[in-house]
Amino acid sequence: MLQSNRKPPVWARAFLIFVLLMLWLPIAVMFFNSLDFQSGELLQFYQQVFNDEALLQALQISLHIALSSAAVSTVLGLSGAYAIHRTGFAWKKFLLVNSYLAMLIPELVFALALLTLFGMIHFPLGPTTVLVAHVSFSLSFSIFVLSSRLQQLDIFIEEAAADLGANSRLIFFKVILPQIYPSLFVSLLLCFLLSFDDFLITYFVNGVGTDTLPIKLFTSMRIGHSPKLSALSMLLTAGLMFLAIAIFMYRNIRDFAHSDRK
């Protein structure tokens, strides 16, 4: 708590309240739009969402791609992080620079670059191209998460293992891997969320008939708004919100657990 002469001025707090209102007012509107106060059933639109075949299929496609993308990203990310921080890999700098650059360029440029690539080699657009695209932009984040964890590890344990005769493979699987399980989980979750939520890149590289949920949302919203769409949006927001809170709490529990291990 800051001392009294360091306290932020009143108008700063007013700004805070204003911003909170600005961010939450549309959500509140969407919430009330999704409920049906006129007919008897309050949750009618939510039921319509669950009964909609096309939406459920889009959800399935989204989930498939997001899970696969998370898995591939994390495996590649782990290879990359390990290569940067634990080996004498010649292309270390290349990896590092690329992973930073990939995070910095606008999504639009990324999307059209990939579309250009697929177009020029005449690769058909579909779930594969979407998967490749998703892995490409989430790889940086995976490397980042796992890198920071690898750097936190106590390297003396690994060197002790080496002194006792363990080779690199054994050290990786028996010493490093068990220590990074929580970060692997964070990477998986982060890449899953990035992929599931993605719209622009998917919009560019998906073929006909492989609409993910955000794509379906976008095309429906272009036409107009409806309570059913609001219900779907509320469901997605609530679902992703719980996942986000899960990351937050998991990290706190992990940090708490690790703090008494040192």
């Binding site: 700063a12 990359g80 004498g88 639009l108 020029m120 790889l139 939520d197 949006s233």
Partner: protein
């Protein structure tokens, strides 16, 4: 450092980046000098036509200028909102801070499309804003209300404010408040302290926030598409149209290259500004 005797494990992600990041980037540059063939494909004929078209026509220049202007305004407004808010949050108790951060973070995790949809709902012609305006007797064309450039600005700010907020928050947490105390003790007014002491102190956070807002904002497509209506075309819409509708990929590639050049220049400038005169804090 151990040298792996087996295949270098780092080659996998490197190959991936090479194939799906570096290569496509080079391809765009290459593509920008090619020609569009009759049916929307690519004709491999080197030419400067795309760039000439881009620089000669007033239409394209105005689109770039409008996008630049909008991105700048968004960045400035985000700054004016984020600095007081971050200051307010930094001054909260531990518990209140956690709660407020959660409240600020949840809209941040919303899907972009859903967030823009909710803004649209608010201002829809049969929505609450229009309803309340009518009640107070203020007559605004409802269709104009639901799609205009002010709304695009609002959408941009709602989306990108958290990106500005969090680096500045971190900077506030790290800030050495004793310097501000000294300034206060020497008789400076709070606003003077803010301008001369606090702001320069959080400059790295400010520059990070500015970059994280301006860069995506300049190339934004979804927000102007859903909130801007037909008249508000920005660079993002323009490029998307070249690739997905007009099928003039080379022209779109040229626009993308110009976009990247402008962004690189801006990033470089802000980076220089952010690091200038910042003393190394131990």
């Amino acid at each position: 450092m151990r040298k792996n005797k087996a295949v270098e494990v780092g080659s996998l992600p490197s190959l991936w980046f090479l194939a799906f990041f570096v290569c496509p980037a080079i391809l765009i540059l290459f593509l920008s000098f090619l020609k569009r063939s009759t049916y929307g494909g690519i004709e491999y004929q080197f030419q400067f036509e795309n760039y000439r078209r881009l620089f000669e026509s007033e239409v394209y220049f105005s689109i770039f200028a409008r996008s630049l202007f909008l991105a700048l305004v968004t960045t400035v407004l985000c700054l004016t909102l984020a600095i007081p808010v971050a200051w307010a949050v930094a001054g909260l108790s531990q518990k209140a801070k956690a709660l407020v951060l959660l409240l600020l973070g949840i809209p941040f995790f919303m899907n972009l499309v859903i967030r823009i949809y909710s803004v649209r709902l608010l201002t829809a012609f049969d929505g609450p804003l229009n309803h309340w305006l009518e009640k107070f007797g203020i007559a605004i064309d409802p269709f104009l209300l639901s799609q205009n450039s002010a709304l695009v600005l609002l959408g941009m700010i709602s989306t990108y404010l958290p990106y500005m907020l969090f680096p500045i928050l971190v900077a506030f947490e790290k800030f050495d408040w004793t310097i501000a105390d000294a300034s206060h003790d020497m008789g400076a007014s709070p606003s003077l302290t803010l301008r001369q002491v606090i702001l320069p102190g959080i400059k790295p956070g400010l520059s990070a926030g500015i970059l994280m807002v301006f860069v995506p904002c300049f190339g934004e497509f979804v927000i102007p598409d859903l909130l801007g209506g037909a008249k508000n075309m920005l660079v993002g819409n323009l490029i998307t149209e070249q690739f997905l509708k007009a099928r003039d990929w080379p022209f779109g590639a040229a626009q993308a290259v110009v976009l990247l050049v402008i962004l690189s220049g801006f990033c470089f400038a802000i980076h220089r500004w952010g690091n200038a005169g910042v003393a190394k804090q131990s």
